[in-house]
C-alpha cells in the first residue's frame, strides 16, 4: 500500500508502534490465552527485561499495557498471557494465528535480575493471571541458574482449570534443580490432590525462612494479605517486590494518567519494592 519512504529519514517517535504477527495461541484457561508474537519478517520485535511491559493494540479497537510473559532468554519470540476482561481483550481472544496487531515497547523498569536479585534465594508468589510477569523472571532465573540461590514458587488460582502455564510448570519448573513449586487452589475440586486454600494462608503454612527475596504478583487483595503475612513471618519490606497496574496510555511517563505521587507507574514502575510503595500516596 504505502510505498513512500517519507518517514524513514528521522527516528520514529516512541508512540509509533511496530506491527507484530501472532504466530501461536495457547488456550491456558477458559479465559486466558497466551499469544506468541513475532515481527512479520520473523524474529523478535524488540529486546526486553523481565517485568517490562508493552502496549498491545488492535487498530480501531483499543490499546492496553500487558506484561511480557516470555523470558528475554527466549531469542525467538515474545509472549503475552492475556485474560479476557474487556473490549480489547475480547477482540484479541477472537484472533487467530496469522493475524496482525501492533505492539510498542518495551516500557517501564524491570525486576532487578542483574543487580539486587543476583545471588539471592528467590520466592515467587503469584495468584491467577499474576503469574504472567513473574513467569518471565522465573524462566530468566532458570536459564541463568548459576546466578541465583534457591527458588520457591507459590502459585494459586481459583481452581485447577485456572492455573496458567500449567504444562510448563509441570514439565519444566517442577523438574528443574533447586526449584520447589507449591501449587494451591481456592476450593477443593475432583481430581486435585494438591493443596487447597488461599495463597496468603499457604505462604504462611509453608513457613518460609526469611533469607529470601520475594516477588509478588496477583490481585490487589492477595498482595495485601501476602505482604501482611510476610511481615509477620519476619520479612522486611525491602525484601519484597511487586508490580503495579494502572491505566496507562503513553507508556513513557508523559501522558499523566498513571502518575502517583512523583512517580509514573509506566516509566518508574511497574516494578516497585514495597518500601518504595510506602512512600507513594495511597492512590493505587
Amino acid at each position: 500500500m504505502c510505498e513512500c519512504n517519507c518517514h524513514t529519514n528521522y527516528t520514529l517517535d516512541t508512540l509509533i508502534p511496530q506491527v507484530g504477527i501472532i504466530t501461536d495461541i495457547r488456550q491456558e484457561t477458559p479465559d486466558v490465552k497466551t499469544f506468541r508474537v513475532n515481527a512479520p519478517e520473523g524474529g523478535k520485535l524488540f529486546e526486553h527485561m523481565p517485568g517490562q511491559c508493552a502496549m498491545v493494540c488492535v487498530p480501531g479497537v483499543s490499546e492496553a499495557m500487558f506484561s511480557i510473559t516470555s523470558s528475554p532468554t527466549n531469542k525467538e519470540y515474545q509472549e503475552f498471557s492475556i485474560k479476557r476482561c474487556g473490549e480489547l481483550t475480547d477482540v484479541l481472544h477472537s484472533m487467530q494465528v496469522g493475524d496482525e496487531i501492533t505492539v510498542r515497547g518495551p516500557y517501564g523498569n524491570n525486576f532487578p535480575v542483574e543487580t539486587e536479585l543476583k545471588g539471592k534465594n528467590l520466592l515467587f508468589i503469584a495468584g491467577g493471571i499474576g503469574l504472567a510477569p513473574l513467569r518471565s523472571v522465573i524462566n530468566y532465573v532458570l536459564d541463568n541458574r548459576e546466578n541465583y540461590g534457591t527458588v520457591d514458587i507459590v502459585y494459586g488460582s481459583r481452581s485447577a482449570d485456572d492455573l496458567v502455564q500449567l504444562k510448563e510448570i509441570q514439565e519444566v519448573w517442577m523438574k528443574a534443580e533447586g526449584v520447589n513449586v507449591h501449587l494451591t487452589i481456592d476450593r477443593p475440586q475432583d481430581g486435585w490432590d494438591g493443596h487447597v486454600g488461599f495463597v496468603p494462608a499457604y505462604v504462611k503454612e509453608l513457613n518460609m525462612t526469611t533469607d529470601k527475596t520475594v516477588l509478588i504478583c496477583g490481585p490487589p487483595i492477595m498482595i495485601k494479605f501476602v505482604l501482611a503475612g510476610l511481615l509477620e513471618m519476619g520479612f522486611s519490606k525491602e525484601q519484597v517486590y511487586t508490580t503495579l497496574e494502572l491505566r496507562m496510555k503513553c507508556g513513557i511517563g508523559k501522558c499523566g494518567r498513571c502518575n502517583i505521587g512523583s512517580k509514573y507507574v509506566c516509566k518508574d514502575g511497574p516494578v516497585f519494592r514495597f518500601d518504595e510503595i510506602d512512600e507513594l500516596p495511597n492512590e493505587y
Partner: protein, 352 residues
C-alpha cells in the same frame, strides 16, 4: 533594538507569513486565541491573555500520530510527518513562554517526544511584553518578568511602534531577514527610552497585583504526604464541576489521551489533550484508582505544586498566568488552594 511603526504591522505579518507560517492572537467570534495569520484574520494584540495559552502551537489539542491501513490481515503503519517548516509564534506572553519551559521538561525528557521536539525546533517565538497586567496575574511568583519576556525575540508595543529585540540566534536570523526586507529599522534613543518607561510602569503595576506575594512555602517534595492527606481538599473541591476548563486553558497542563478514529479507509491514531479532572481519566478494565472528584481535584494541584517540582529540580508546573483564575466556572483555582493551605498553617500556629 529594532522597531517598526504600528501602521506597518500588517506588512510585517505579511512578510513573515510569506517565508513561514505565522501564528498570532486572532479574534474569532469575540474571543482571542492563537491562530494562523491570513489577510482576512482579525489580529488582536490588545487582549492581554488569549483564552488558550500558546501551548497548542507546539502541543496541539489534537494531532494525528499515524494512520493504520489494513489489507486483509496485514497492517501498514504510516507515521505522520514531523513539522519540518519553520513557523513564528508571535505575541506569546512571558507566562506562555515559561509554560513551554515546563512542557520541555516533560516532552524533551528521555524518550523525546519527536512531534513536540520538531515543533520546538522549527518554532521561532516572538514574545510580547505585557502592559496593564490583570489582577489575576501572578507570574512574578514563578520568576517571570512579564515586562521583558525571554524568547527568541522580545517585542514591546508602544503607542506608536513595535520595538523588537532579538535574544537568540534564531531571533537574530529572523531579525536579519526582516531588516533586509526593509521592514525593521533601527530604534531611536526615544524609542529605547519609551520601552524602558513601559517596562518600569508594568513592573510597578506587577508589584501592586493582589497575588504578587503568594507564598509557595511548604510546597515541595518533602510535604507530599502532609499535603496529600490534608482534610482541606474535602472542603476545597466541593464546587468543582469536573470540567476540563482549567486544564485546557493552562499553559503547562500536558496530560494527553491517545485514541483511534475510523475514517472509513483506515484508522487514525491521534492524541488529544486530556484532563485529570475527567472521571474516565484513570478508568481501566479492572477499576479506577481515583474514584472521587476530590481525588481528581487533589491530583491536579499536587501534580503542579508537589510532584512536578520533586521531579524537576523544584520547577513548579504553574507559571502564574491566571487563566484558571479567570475561567473556572465555579471560581476555583490554584491561588485559592495555595491560600487555603497557608491560612490553615496560620490558624494552626495561632492555636498553639
Amino acid at each position: 533594538m529594532k522597531k517598526i511603526v504600528k501602521e506597518n504591522l500588517p506588512a510585517l505579518f505579511r512578510a513573515i507569513a510569506a517565508q513561514q507560517d505565522l501564528f498570532l492572537p486572532i479574534k474569532t467570534a469575540g474571543q482571542t486565541n492563537f491562530g494562523l495569520w491570513t489577510e482576512e484574520a482579525e489580529v488582536d494584540l490588545e487582549t492581554l491573555k488569549t483564552v488558550k495559552s500558546g501551548k497548542d502551537m507546539f502541543f496541539p489539542q489534537s494531532e494525528t500520530l499515524y494512520t493504520c491501513l489494513k489489507d486483509d490481515k496485514k497492517i501498514y503503519i504510516k507515521p505522520e510527518a514531523l513539522q519540518d517548516r519553520n513557523f513564528v509564534a508571535f505575541g506569546m506572553k512571558g507566562c506562555d513562554v515559561k509554560g513551554l519551559e515546563v512542557l520541555d521538561r516533560v516532552f524533551l525528557a528521555d524518550p523525546v517526544d519527536t512531534f513536540y521536539a520538531a515543533r520546538r525546533k522549527h518554532g521561532i517565538i516572538v514574545a510580547m511584553a505585557c502592559n496593564e497586567p490583570e489582577t489575576s496575574c501572578f507570574c512574578k511568583v514563578f520568576g517571570v518578568d512579564c515586562a521583558e519576556p525571554s524568547a527568541d525575540v522580545a517585542v514591546w508595543l508602544t503607542s506608536t511602534a513595535l520595538c523588537w529585540k532579538a535574544q537568540t540566534e534564531k531571533g537574530e536570523a529572523l531579525t536579519a531577514t526582516l531588516t533586509a526586507a526593509g521592514l525593521l529599522e533601527e530604534a531611536t534613543e526615544a524609542d529605547l527610552h519609551h520601552v524602558e518607561g513601559e517596562k518600569a510602569v508594568t513592573r510597578a503595576i506587577v508589584e501592586k497585583l493582589p497575588y504578587m506575594n503568594l507564598s509557595l512555602e511548604g510546597w515541595n517534595g518533602e510535604a507530599l504526604n502532609e499535603k496529600f492527606n490534608s482534610p482541606l481538599w474535602e472542603k476545597l473541591y466541593k464546587g468543582c464541576l469536573a470540567c476540563g476548563t482549567c486544564t485546557f486553558v493552562c499553559p503547562t497542563c500536558q496530560c494527553y489521551d491517545i485514541k483511534d478514529y475510523k475514517t472509513g479507509t483506515g484508522v487514525q491514531r491521534y492524541r488529544c489533550w486530556d484532563s485529570c479532572m475527567y472521571s474516565d481519566f484513570t478508568m481501566m478494565a479492572h477499576g479506577n484508582n481515583r474514584t472521587s472528584q476530590m481525588q481528581r481535584y487533589r491530583q491536579r494541584f499536587m501534580h503542579k505544586l508537589i510532584y512536578f517540582p520533586a521531579n524537576n529540580d523544584g520547577m513548579y508546573s504553574c507559571v502564574g498566568c491566571g487563566r484558571c483564575v479567570e475561567k473556572c466556572p465555579s471560581s476555583l483555582n490554584i491561588v485559592k488552594v495555595i491560600k487555603a493551605f497557608a491560612a490553615e498553617k496560620t490558624n494552626e500556629g495561632g492555636a498553639r
